[in-house]
């Protein structure tokens, strides 16, 4: 794969600050309240007055739906009375990081200098206040239309079903065992013990994992992430507008996004891979860095198997060899060759829908990760999305 352009335009953008709101189960706070908290903390982290924020970008955009998308770009504009030169919100992107990719493009084009990118969820509160599940597809009243019509009539409502089928095929083709897959939630839990704001911090053993109730084979309860309330904000700045801010910005070495295969949960030719494969390849085509240069990885784990897919897609082991790479869990633990999801991932730190990984990658590169710091972390990958959704970022310390 070659790069069509002569310039890697994402290097005109940097990440100048990050922030998170309170995160928890059933906070009973509004999405916009949480978003404002995260955005102000990110601005403070960057050393920016809020009046310097001239762009807002979010995913999946404000749809007024408590739970998955309670707050849109214009809600934040109103809440902080920002003077915006550019804004965007929407879900038809290369996964959840589409809001970040849009912001990178916007600062590169000169539309804005400092763009707050945010993702806010209130899924825990929404599910407590309603009878249904907010992340189910096609489960509402009325007839199903669009892509949901091909899966919902078969009571395949949850991503646990769709991703579970990818995992089952991978196990069949390559001999991956549950004991090996389980090393991902186990490592996440060990890391969460070192993260004061993680949701689940008590130890989790392999026996606990193997004894847990099944959700959708091969996934048990601990293969599935935990819905939470919370907001994460990341400020994407024009590199030459960030030189005098509070700390040296995180560099964006390369961004990865690609839509080659069918946009579908069941039509992909190779059901042991996901859009992650295409996104990762496009990212590596835009940099001279190689997988061996990466110090820490923060990879989407809405289900354990998605993180495995990203590890393989990014080339940290040959295709089909995830089982031996994960065996025993040392490789992916703090102190191992490739620490994974050092904050606990979504499996133990909560479903911040991709942005928890980006937040943690930046904290690691700034040396701000406390007890869970990877020594001298210089290069990190953050990735979000499963199935036909996928986008990734290769980040470096200034």
């Amino acid at each position: 794969m070659s790069v069509a352009t002569t310039e890697i335009g994402e290097r005109r953008a940097v990440i100048s600050g990050v922030g998170q709101s309170e995160i928890g189960r059933r906070l009973f706070r509004s999405g916009t309240d949480l978003t404002v908290e995260a955005a102000l903390r990110a601005a403070e982290d960057a050393g920016l007055d809020r009046r310097a924020i001239d762009g807002v970008s979010t995913w999946p955009g404000g749809q007024g739906v408590e739970g998955m998308s309670p707050t849109g770009a214009t809600d934040l504009k109103e809440a902080l009375r920002l003077d915006l030169r550019w804004w965007s919100g929407g879900s038809e992107t290369a996964g959840q990081y589409g809001a970040v990719f849009n912001a990178i493009a916007a600062v590169g084009a000169g539309f804005a200098n400092h763009v707050v990118c945010f993702r806010t969820v209130t899924e825990a509160t929404a599910s407590a206040q309603m009878t249904g599940h907010t992340s189910l597809v096609g489960a509402g009243p009325g007839r199903v239309t669009g892509s949901a019509q091909w899966i919902a009539p078969f009571n395949a409502f949850s991503a646990a079903n769709w991703i579970g089928m990818f995992a089952q095929r991978y196990m069949h083709d390559f001999g991956l065992t549950r004991e090996q897959l389980g090393q991902i939630p186990l490592a996440c839990r060990r890391h969460a013990a070192l993260n004061p704001v993680a949701i689940y911090r008590e130890p989790l053993t392999l026996d606990d994992y193997l004894a847990a109730r099944m959700i959708s084979t091969p996934f048990c309860l601990y293969d599935c992430d935990v819905p939470v309330d919370g907001s994460t904000a990341v400020i994407v700045s024009r590199a030459d507008a960030a030189a005098d801010l509070r700390k040296p910005p995180v560099r964006i070495e390369a961004a990865g996004m690609r839509l080659t295969e069918r946009f579908s949960w069941d039509q992909r030719a190779d059901l042991t891979t996901m859009a992650a494969t295409d996104a990762a390849a496009s990212m590596w085509a835009r940099t001279d860095l190689r997988p061996a240069d990466v110090d820490v990885v923060e990879l989407y784990d809405g289900f354990s198997f998605i993180a495995l897919c990203w590890l393989e897609a990014l080339g940290f082991f040959p295709k089909g060899e995830a089982g031996s790479f994960l065996e025993g869990g040392d490789n992916i633990s703090l102190g191992g060759v490739l620490p994974l999801n050092t904050h606990g991932g979504q499996l133990s730190a909560g479903r911040l829908h991709g942005y928890g990984f980006l937040h943690e990658a930046c904290r690691q590169l700034w040396g701000e990760a406390g007890e869970r710091q990877v020594p001298d972390a210089q290069v990190a990958v953050a990735a979000a999305g499963g199935g036909p959704l996928g986008g990734c970022l290769l980040l470096t310390r200034s």
Binding site: F154, F157, A160, M165, R169, S216, T217
Partner: protein, 133 residues
């Protein structure tokens, strides 16, 4: 078991109602031969507008599956099997479906299955059961 019902349109109606006479039909381009599923009115390969429902045998192979244990809705009867099958005579066309009429533990990747329709209001859901013969 309760199920969401697809909303019929000019594009999807031939697929969802094919089971009325017990025959599965998939749209196919009359000019280049591409099977087009989910259905479209124009061939995404050769751009022909002659894309018409074509009868297939209903035989398929289980590409992968999952046993769902979680009662996502109170009226669901669990466990049940969700699978992706590929149609034997429409290569490349996959359907997400349920495998029925067999013990859950007997479902496996590579299993030969055949279509069996479940009527539901005015649609006929293509489910699959073990192939005979």
């Amino acid at each position: 078991m309760s199920r969401p019902v697809p909303l019929l349109s000019a594009v999807n109606e031939p697929f969802w109602t094919a089971g009325a006479d017990g025959v599965l039909r998939i749209r196919r381009c009359l000019d280049c031969g591409l099977w087009v599923h989910p259905p479209e009115l124009r061939c995404p390969n050769c751009l022909s507008r002659r894309v018409e429902p074509e009868a297939v045998s209903g035989r398929a192979e289980v590409l992968t599956f999952t046993v769902n244990h979680q009662p996502w809705q109170s009226e669901l009867v669990v466990p049940y099997v969700i699978a992706i099958v590929e149609l034997v005579d429409a290569p490349g066309v996959r359907l997400t479906t349920n495998i029925v009429n067999c013990p859950i533990g007997s479902v496996h990747i590579g299993m030969a299955v055949q279509v069996v329709f479940e009527p539901l209001d005015n649609v006929f859901l293509p489910l699959f059961e073990p192939a005979v013969g």
